[in-house]
Structure formats: C-alpha cells, structure tokens
Amino acid sequence: MAVAALSSAEIPAAASRRAASRARAVRRFKLTLLLPLIALFVFLLVPVLTLQLYFSFHQWTVYLGSWWDADYVGLDLFQSVLTDPRFGWAVLRSLAFATGSTVGCFVVGFALAYLMAKPFRGHAVYYTLFILPMLTVPVVVSYTAEMMLYRNGPVNGIISALTGLDFQVSWLADPNIALTTVALLEIWNWTPFSFIIMLAGLAAVPKEPIEAAEILGASKWRIFWEVQVPLLRPVILLALVLRFLEAMAEFPKTWALFQGGPGSATETLPVYIFMTTWQYFEISKGAAMSYIVMLLMIAIVLVAIHLLRREKRSLDLMYAPHAADG
C-alpha cells in the first residue's frame, strides 16, 4: 500500500483531529455511563419533585376534592411552615439528634477502625462482629432495645451491677432522655458505617510519612494526631457528612419506639413530616415542609462539598513537592 507523505502543516492538523475525535468518544462514553442516572432523574425524580412543587403552591384538602382542583395559594404554605413553632422544634431536634449520633458513630467507628487497622489473629471474626449492627433492620433494633431498656430491664440492671448504684433511668418514658435513647440506638446501629469508611481511609494512608515520623522518634500519639489525622481529613469529612445526612432522615427507630412521644420529645423532622402528611392528611403542607427540608439538606451538602474540595486541595499541595522530588 502506498503511503502518501504528509506535509509539516498536515501533521499537527491530523493530530488535532485525532484528539478531537478521542475527546468526542470519551464524551460519548461518559454520557453512556450517565444515561441510566439521567433517565432515572428525568422519569422518576422530576415528576415527583414537580408534583410536590405543585402541592406546595396549592392548598389541597383531601376530603373536599381532587388534587387537580386545589386552590393556588402562592407562598402561603411555606410561610405557614416557617412560622409553625412545631416545625422549628422538629428542626432543632433533628439537628441535635443528627449531630450527637454522627459524632458518636464517628468516634466509636474511628476507634474500632484504628484498632483493626493492622491485621491480627481473629481479625475477620471481629470485623464481621463489628459490622453486624449495620445489617440489623432498624425496626428490629427498636423492638429489641425496647425490651432491654425498661426501667427494670437488663441495661439498667447491668449498669447497676457494674456501678453498685441503683440505676433507674427511664430510657423510654422520660421526655428529657427519649431523644438520647434513639441517638444511642442510632450509634449502635450505624457505627459500622463509620468504621468501614475509616478502616478504608486508614488502609489508604501512605506509610512513608508514618515511617519517617517513627524514625524521627515521634510518639504514637503524636504520629496519630500530626500525621494520620491530617492525612485522613477528607475521609473523616466524608464519613461525617454522609452519616449526618442519613441521621437527619432517621425515621423507623424513632417511630417504632416513640411515635413522637412521650409528649413531643421525639417529634423530629421525618416524624413531623410523616404526621403532617399521613396523620393529618395535610398533603400540601407536608410537601412545602419537604421542600424546605430539601433546601436545608442541599445547603448542608454544598458546604460539605466545598469543605471536601478544600481538603483535597490542601492534600494535593502537601503531596505536590514529594511528587516533584520523585
């Protein structure tokens, strides 16, 4: 086959065409991968969000007519939600619950991950045991806990035996403790999630900085605080954010154990939204409430993304000189 000689001007032009063609192929490939997600968004999420938006701006009283005949009320429902003290309390309870349980999950999960970071005999057995709570259905967690948390139940009994005191806490009936009870159950249920993420993070930490610190005579404590934790910051942030978002949406345990009570001690956002929508059948107010909560969650996610990017940049900067040296 005869090969035509290319002029010096034609060579970069051909290369640029190839590059453009490759870029198009990469774009097509990315689009193909994203297509199911886009389809899911367009066909499932968009109609639901649109309908919910419609309800948020229309007062539909379920007993009086069909939803398409509902009266347009503008922003009245949003105003009604934002001026509803019960909603405000529900936001505060959810934030307190999510913060407390996230910190609890993280601290215990990180501690377990640190203990499990280096292999030892029986490692796999402990690993299985530690992730078991996450595999337990939340409602089962609630009903099992209920039996253990009565005033005369085994939990108070064990604490009394260990401390020698007559420990008589009403985990389930005291409105000042009820939310803490759910938070403790949440920590038990979801610590494995933080544990797995932190274990993966610890496994990915480069060994060189730790070895260098050891050679320089740094204590284990100092290595942990000054080498490992800074390197783990993006993973820590991810573990905290994901757990926090999940905790904000916690419903099954709270509902199964308390249904918002005693009093209104456990009326968190998901509980209040459920009650508004399906107990009081205020579908429109429930929709407006859900939108406000969605905006709150989006704000939290945006802050989290911003922080994650900042962490990534700082890590990149930390490694850049080593890369140049290499």
Binding site: S170, L172, A173, G261, Y280, E282
Partner: protein, 480 residues
C-alpha cells in the same frame, strides 16, 4: 284499559314457569331463605364467585378463615391476596388508597371511626343496597349500628367491638384486712368504683410499688391515652363541639377530664408515658395492677391460665362514671372499632360487601370472637352474649360487663378529619402528662389547633357530619 282474559292453559303454563324460575340460580334461595345467613348466601350467589383482596391485620384474619372458607364453599366467594397491615397503620394506607382512587383492595379492615374521612374522600361503597338484598340486620346493643353509619348511609360491618370495661382486682378488694383499713380511713366500703374519683382513691389506697403493684393499668402514651380522656369527658357531660362546630373542649367538663386524666400519674407505673398494650396487658394479667379500664378482649387473656396469673381475680364491670353534671353518667368507648369497609373503586365490591355481611352475622362471628388464642376480635353482637363458646371465653361476668358497657358506649371524634382532631388532643395531653405543657394549656392549645383543622376541612361540611356523630352517642346515662 284493555281487558285480557287468562285461559286455563295459560294459567297452568304460568304456574309451571314460576315453579321452574324458582329453582334457577340466583332466584331459588331468595324465595326459600329463612335465616339471615342463608339470605346473605343467596344474595352473594347473584354477584358471582370471586376471590376478593383486602387489607387486614393477620391476627384479625386468622380466626376468620374457617368462616370465610364456609362462605367460599357456599358461594364461591373467598379471600385471595391480603395485605397484612396493623390496625394502627391502616388509616394512613387506606387514605393513600383513597387519594389515588385505587382498586387494589376490595375491602379494608380498619377502625370504623375512619368512616367519615374515607367516605368524604370518596373511597367507600355504601352497603345499604347489599344490606337490603340480603335483608341483613345488625344484631347489636341499642344504637351500636350507628357507629357504622355516616351521612345517612351504612358503610361498615363490625368484627371487633373493642369496648372498654372496668377491671378491678377481686382478691385485693375482698381482702378483709384491706376492707377494714379502707373503712377505717375513708368511712366507706371498699368496693368496685362507680366514679372516677372512687377509682383513683381505691388505686392509691391499694397500690404498693415496692411489690411492683401499681394502682392503674390505663394507657397514657401519646398514641392511645386520649381514648381514656374521652370517657371521662363524655361522662362529665362534655361534647367536643357546639352546633356551629366551634370547639367546646375548654370548658369545666373538659378541665375536669384533664384533671382526672393527669391524676393517673400518681398511681400508674413511672414508664406509663410510653407504654402501649404490649407492655400493659401482661402487667394486668400478671397481677401488677389494681384496676383499670381496658378493652374487653383482656377478659379472655385474664381467663387463659397460659397467659395470666390472675384468672378469677378480677371483677369485670361498667367503667367508672361521673357526677359532674349532678347525676351519675357512665361513658365507655369503642376505639379502634375494627370493621370491614368496601372500596367503591373495586370491581368486586358486591362480593366484598356480601362477604362482610357474612362475617358480620352474629351467629357466624361466634367462633371469631371466642378464639382464645387469636383474641383480637372482641364480642359485639347480642348473639355473642348468649353463645356458650363466647361466655366460656370471656366468663359470664365478663360478658355481663361487656353488654352493660355497650349500653353506654361512645365513639371518639366521629367526624371527617378524625385523626387530625384526635392527634392534636393526644399530643397536648401527652405533653401535659410528661410535664412539657401546663395542664391549663392543654384544652386551649387543642382548641386553637382544632379551629385551624375546622377551617381547612370546612365548617359547613363538618356541621353536616355532626348529625352522624351525635347519632352514635349513647342515650342512657347508666346501663340498665
């Protein structure tokens, strides 16, 4: 008018024709049906065989199955797919079905107090025509069938009466030492309480927390506690709305009811604020309670030695009443009153309706309400009160008490928006019980919330509903 002569031949042919027609399917049984059950079968046959689908909690369904099997044998109508949902979660699911006009369930088994809400949402099939076709009659105590009626139509068939009766410990009351101490202290006889005040005094006197014996076994959790409040409120002459649908809770009768309701804290278990039936029934049956008002099915549990340590140790009687109006008035409550309702959008609504009538016959439901193991369906029909298996399950004293309480039984808020109204009151009562809200604010806050609900649902619509609510209220002050 043209005059037509009838020949002897035509007369004989007509007679033969009528005789033949009488034996055709769908006509014969009607002509010959004698009992209500036979008439129901006859009417059901005309609807054709089908397996109907339903939403029902399995503890209710299990004892119904032999009765359903018999109906299937006789008519070809049985129960196919079933969604097993707790009676407490059923209202939410039923309303979702109503809003989507779903034909998924042919029948739903649910608290009948949801009838106004579900009928207003257009979900319920009126049963009047089916009742007429089968010449069905509710064999119940005075006016209890009004619990199934709304807006001039009948919508449900009860399967579980769920009336509250009074349980008082016989062994403690009859103890000579207790009798003497009580007489010495109060100058009056220790006996089954007639009023709420007597009940509290007795509970306080006999309780002994050091022996894990508490005065009260009443529920005070957010989900159920409100049921007890209605009894006190109604017995004090209260009714929650005036004729113009303005809330009338914040009245002396209402405050009296809140006061009695909250005093229970002195005599109930410290964890009662979050306890429901799964916690309280075992305590009653195991002897940790002096007295309480509870659903009538607990008679069966107490009597069953495999589930109880207190068999024979309880007096069963009418719930306490009040002299608040100047004369003694007793008011019991039936909630949740489990009933079968039929979906208007169902393609098999006739079959579902006739199945409901079959299950709602007093005679057919005797094995259902007397099942000692699956004890969720409680006696409600006059036929039950005379049936040996039912008497055996509840004891004669239990049956007498149930019957008397039915004479003074009232519904909770029997209006469109029942759950909204009830939960607002329940939340405020629960907050007051645990100290989150001052007792004086319970009724004021509830009235404010109710006014908003009335505004949303519509005052004129609710004013129409009031007639059905009032019709369901008992007429007797004290059982005969």
């Amino acid at each position: 008018m043209a005059r037509r002569s009838i020949s002897r031949r035509h007369f004989i042919e007509g007679g033969v024709g009528l005789t033949v027609a009488n034996f055709l399917p769908g006509t014969t049984p009607l002509a010959f049906a004698a009992t209500m059950e036979e008439r129901t079968v006859a009417a059901a046959k005309s609807a054709g065989p089908a397996d109907v689908s339903g939403m029902i909690w399995s503890p209710y369904l299990v004892p119904m199955q032999p009765v359903i099997a018999e109906f299937k044998k006789q008519t070809g109508i049985g129960v196919g797919a079933v969604q097993d949902i707790s009676i407490f979660d059923a209202p939410q699911r039923a309303m979702a079905e109503a809003l989507s006009h779903s034909p998924q369930f042919d029948f739903i088994h649910i608290d009948s107090n949801m009838i106004p809400s579900l009928a207003s949402a257009g979900y319920l099939e009126p049963l009047d025509e089916y009742i007429k076709n089968a010449d069905f009659h509710y064999d119940v105590v005075a006016g209890y069938d009004n619990f199934m009626k709304y807006g001039g139509h009948t919508y449900g068939v009860p399967t579980d009466g769920n009336v509250h009766i009074q349980y008082t410990r016989k062994d403690l009351l009859d103890n000579p030492d207790n009798k003497k101490r009580f007489a010495d202290k109060f100058g009056t006889e220790l006996k089954v309480p007639e009023t709420w005040e007597e009940n509290l005094r007795l509970q306080e006197f006999l309780m002994d927390p050091s022996k894990d014996l508490y005065g009260s076994g009443n529920l005070r959790n957010r989900a159920n506690g409100v049921t007890w409040w209605y009894m006190i409120f109604y017995s004090a002459g209260g009714f929650p709305f005036d004729d113009d649908m303005k809330p009338t809770l914040n009245t002396p009768a209402g405050q009296y009811a809140v006061d009695i309701y909250l005093q229970d804290k002195k005599v109930n278990h410290p964890e009662a604020a979050n306890w429901g039936t799964p916690q309280m029934i075992p305590r009653i049956a195991q002897g940790h309670v002096v007295s309480c008002q509870y659903w009538d099915g607990t008679c069966k549990t107490i009597k069953n030695p495999q589930q109880s340590k207190t068999a024979g140790q309880f007096y069963f009687s009418v719930v306490p009443g009040s002299n608040f109006t100047g004369k003694l008035v007793h008011r019991s409550i039936s909630s949740p009153l489990a009933a079968i309702l039929v979906n208007k959008y169902s393609p098999r609504k006739a079959q579902a309706a006739y199945l409901a009538l079959w299950l709602g016959s007093g005679k057919n439901s005797i094995p259902i309400v007397s099942d000692p193991v699956n004890a969720f369906n409680d006696a409600w029909s006059n036929a039950h009160f005379a049936a040996p298996p039912v008497i055996d399950a509840y004891t004669q004293d239990g049956i007498n008490a149930i019957k008397k309480n039915f004479e003074v039984v009232a519904p909770p808020i029997y209006l469109t928006g029942y759950l909204e109204f009830q939960d607002a009151l329940a939340k405020n009562l629960s907050e007051a019980y645990v100290g989150q809200l001052a007792a004086k604010d319970v009724l004021k806050n509830t009235e404010d919330e109710w006014t908003k609900i009335i505004g949303r649902i519509g005052r004129s619509k609710l004013k129409q509903d009031l007639a059905s609510y009032k019709a369901a209220m008992p007429k007797l002050a004290v059982p005969a």
